[in-house]
């Protein structure tokens, strides 16, 4: 039987050296006794020093080294034996390291989790107090008392050196004290709780803690699961918790029951000034164009660029089509492709002046699939429509037309919420949240009709629709 004594400071490194030696000497786990920080015990069994193996003699999976480094700081007295027992199995079956179902590994992983959580809570709950007088080199001095569940000060101290490098500090725990002075970290034997001076900042912090709490959403369990009571005695803010919990319900009730008050006198004055014309800047056409340019800098596969509408900003009529086509996308202007030309021709015949209307599309980007070199039009989905709604809403907001002419299903869906039964609904004005909307078919529908007679008939109907529109906005 061998006994290996591990020191309180530098435990993990010492365990690693010892384990390496034992493994190299083929000592089975049953033949090792591990002792931590208790020299008396070692004499009891007549210690046989652990054999030393040079680095590189023993290889283990990398993940085990990290695991052992953490588990060594656990408070379980069996931790070293558990680690070595697993290591002993691991030397023949290295794949054990990724077997999350293995019971021994599961226990070790559980311990590792405890240690990591404990270390994390230490980074969260250590509270420094100002010791007042600065050191000789002008560095401010702070100290803290903390009681961790596991032996986590040593692995956690580097965190504090990275964070609080421009001041001197000390963290006292029952078993180890860490000191950081003049940029140097040192570890010492622990001490009983030192007498730290009161710190004025604690009161400010308490004020903050009391006021950031929302009494209308009391969830004590959510708090205690993350900030267990065992930490409360060293947290300056924790002394306010009982009061906050006790009064929360009454405070929430009070808020709910309080009658609305009259606004202060200044409110009316301020709001009046704020709502005066020209004070609250809305989107302008310029802003809109800039946004479009910004978004066009990035291309989206399968979509063209954003093509905004055009026409007078105070137009009485807004004409809304489906989406830019191949030609529109290349030119960056709406209604210039075949369907746009069709619209222009028929509109002229119907006495509708296109130049006086603001013409735009419900969806701003050309959606296509590539077939060879050709970009084939794809109908926008509901998702595309929703995505583009913001743009058309901005345009409607800016133009404020008296009538909106919606051509085709996509425009109908955008403006009225439904694309069903266009052929039945055409020719009538529907009231919507965007204003009155006149529905008709899309000119490309006419272009696609193969039968010449049907095409002529449909074109005539379309012309009639446009003539009614011309009359409505006249």
């Amino acid at each position: 039987m061998r006994t290996v004594a591990l020191p309180r400071i530098g435990t993990a490194a010492a365990w690693r050296t010892a384990a390496r030696g034992l493994l190299a000497a083929q000592v089975p786990p049953e033949a090792v006794l591990w002792a931590w920080d208790s020299p008396a015990q070692i004499d009891l069994f007549g210690a046989e020093p652990a054999p030393v193996a040079p680095r590189g003699d023993v290889t283990v999976p990398k993940a085990f080294v990290a695991l052992a480094e953490n588990v060594c700081w656990h408070s379980d007295p069996e931790r070293f034996a558990r680690l070595y027992a697993f290591l002993w199995r691991l030397r023949r079956q290295p794949q054990l390291m990724v077997d999350r179902g293995d019971a021994q590994l599961a226990t070790l992983r559980g311990m590792e989790k405890n240690v990591r959580r404990c270390a994390h809570k230490m980074t969260a709950f250590v509270r420094f107090r100002d010791l007042g007088e600065a050191g000789a080199d002008g560095r401010r001095r702070f100290a803290a008392w903390f009681e961790p569940t596991h032996h986590t000060l040593e692995p956690t101290a580097p965190f504090f050196t990275r964070r609080f490098a421009d001041m001197d500090w000390a963290i006292h725990t029952p078993d180890v004290t860490a000191r950081f002075e003049g940029g140097q970290l040192s570890l010492h034997e622990g001490s009983p709780r030192p007498d730290l001076p009161e710190d004025g900042a604690d009161e400010l912090w308490g004020t903050y803690f009391r006021n950031i709490f929302n009494p209308a959403r009391l969830k004590v369990k959510a708090m205690t699961s993350e900030m267990p009571r065992k930490y409360w005695k060293n947290l300056p803010e924790a002394r306010h918790i009982p009061d906050l919990i006790a009064n929360a319900e009454a405070r929430a009730r009070e808020m709910a029951e309080a009658a609305p008050t009259l606004p202060p006198v200044r409110a009316e004055r301020i709001l009046e000034r704020l709502h005066a014309p020209g004070v609250l800047r809305g989107m302008t056409f310029d802003d809109l164009r800039k946004r479009a340019e910004a978004e066009n800098r990035e291309t989206q596969p399968g979509y063209g660029r954003i093509v905004l509408g055009e026409g007078p900003a105070d137009a009485r009529l807004m004409v809304v089509g489906e989406q830019p086509g191949d030609v529109e996308d290349r030119e960056g202007r709406p209604f210039v492709g075949p369907a746009g030309q069709m619209f222009d021709t028929v509109a002229a015949e119907a006495g509708l002046e296109r130049g006086a209307a603001y013409v735009t599309n419900a969806v701003k980007r050309f959606k296509f699939t590539l077939r060879g070199k050709r970009r084939i039009h794809q109908s926008p989905t509901s998702g595309d429509i929703e995505h583009a709604r913001w743009w058309i809403a901005q345009e409607l907001d800016l133009v404020q037309p008296k009538l909106i002419l919606a051509m085709g299903g996509t425009a109908a869906e955008t403006l009225t919420g439904s694309r069903k039964g266009i052929l039945k609904r055409r020719g009538a004005v529907e009231e919507t949240e965007y204003g009155p909307v006149f529905l008709t078919v899309h000119p490309s529908y006419l272009l696609r009709l193969p039968d010449a007679a049907a095409k002529a008939a449909e074109t005539a109907r379309f012309r009639d629709d446009l003539a009614s529109v011309a009359k409505l906005v006249a």
């Binding site: 709950f125 006021n211 929302n214 918790i241 709910a256 609305p260 989107m283």
Partner: protein, 410 residues
């Protein structure tokens, strides 16, 4: 009588509590080992305390001032409320941040503000605080700045150089609701501001032709928040909105904040108990969208009214509505389906995938891997486990839903 720092802190933290975000994670790594500065950030954030409302306190979350010229019905600081007002000087904010930081109370600063005078003036003061912290105090902790919607792009550009995260709240799930309850705010401008930040972030990642990297711009990204339960939007609308926001502006997080009673409330919005359970379900749904490969319509499709089931979690609700997909053979199923098993988290699934390469999984293995087997049991098969006919039993839902509660007469 002039207010003391203590009074101001009380007023201005009270006013800031309705912002849900307190995250301090996901920024670039920094430390002060050179001894010339204060603070560090290391990837994951730290919650330094928890308030009894269960929310983490990671940052010093305060308003620069709660004077405000806007009149948003849901907000305690609206111009028409009689709440006490105060204003920090930039020096006071800097002092509080560094002194709190030195005592390890906080990870950094989350600074927001009411709108005073003009948006530019407000933003300028906020940027000044961030600049002082970074350049004069050499503060290397976390800074989260709220951007003011109408502020000039130059100020936002400067803010992004000092702040780890920029955010702007969309406030309510639909534009109509914003119009109704926050008449001075414009959803278009809010989205415009988010698009600007996104564009700046992208620009900051392009190297110049010499390979030089520009200064980091808001390395922890941007987030937003919407209040739920104040207007009538259903969960499908809310989640649709947030998935659009994640997609369009590359947001790190969308926070949902249950509308909660405020002191001196407006007559426009009735006060109710905050819908905390709904908020919780929305967060679960949000996670399913981001980490589990669910689509919005899959999550909200199981109920006709487009709302989430408050009694059971959205993943379980989906599984119950799609029983034909189960039980699932854990040994063979692909990752996408494993992620859809109720009771399996992303970590559990990774462990299953790693271990099943070497050997057959058993029921007890799953327990050790961290699966919530009470929930998962009816939906899986293993070599030594079969759920029998439970997947088809009519009362499967009642096993998970909380027992019916008797209504109180009084």
């Amino acid at each position: 009588m002039p207010r003391t720092l203590q009074d101001k802190l009380a007023i201005l933290s009270d006013a800031a509590r309705y912002d849900a975000s307190c995250a301090s994670s996901g920024t670039s790594r920094r430390d002060s080992r050179d001894g010339k500065g204060l603070g560090s950030t290391e990837g994951s954030g730290i919650c330094h305390a928890y308030a009894p409302d269960g929310r983490c306190i990671s940052l010093l979350k305060i308003l620069m001032t709660n004077f405000c010229i806007f009149d948003c019905a849901y907000c305690v600081n609206r111009v028409s409320s009689n709440t006490p007002r105060a204003r920090f000087s930039p020096e006071e904010v800097v002092h509080l941040t560094t002194e709190f930081y030195r005592r390890n109370y906080i990870e950094g600063l989350f600074l927001s503000s009411g709108i005073i005078q003009t948006p530019d003036k407000t933003m300028e003061d906020m940027v000044r605080i961030a600049r002082t912290l970074r350049l004069e105090e050499n503060f290397r902790g976390y800074i989260h700045l709220k951007t003011i919607p109408d502020a000039s792009p130059e100020l936002i550009a400067e803010a992004g150089l000092y702040a780890d995260r920029l955010s702007i709240n969309v406030e309510l799930p639909t534009d109509a609701a914003v119009k109704a309850y926050a008449p001075e705010k414009s959803p278009g401008q809010i989205r415009g501001a988010m698009a600007d930040v996104k564009a700046q972030r992208r620009a900051s990642k392009d190297r110049s032709h010499t390979g030089k990297r520009p200064a980091k711009f808001a390395p922890a990204g941007q987030s937003t928040q919407m209040i739920i339960g104040a207007d009538g939007s259903n969960d499908a609308t809310i989640l649709g909105q947030s998935s659009g926001l994640y997609g369009a502006y590359g947001l790190r997080r969308v926070y949902y904040s249950a509308f909660s009673p405020i002191p001196d409330s407006s007559a426009k919005l009735p006060l109710v108990t905050p819908p905390l359970q709904r908020e919780h379900r929305l967060y679960q749904a949000d996670w399913l969208m981001r980490f589990y490969g669910f689509g919005v319509d899959e999550i909200t499709g199981s109920r006709a009214d487009g709302n989430l089931d408050l009694e059971i979690d959205p993943k379980l609700a989906w599984a119950l509505a799609h029983r034909e997909e189960f039980p699932l053979d854990v040994q063979r199923a692909d990752k996408a389906m494993l992620l859809r098993v109720p009771g399996f988290g992303t970590k559990t699934v990774d462990r299953i995938l790693a271990t099943r390469r070497h050997r057959d999984l058993r029921y007890d293995d799953l327990r050790r891997m961290g699966a919530a087997l009470k929930k998962a049991r009816p939906f899986i098969t293993l070599r030594d486990w079969s759920p029998g006919g439970t997947i088809d039993s009519a009362d499967l839902r009642t096993r998970f839903a909380p027992p019916p509660e008797q209504l109180s007469l009084f």
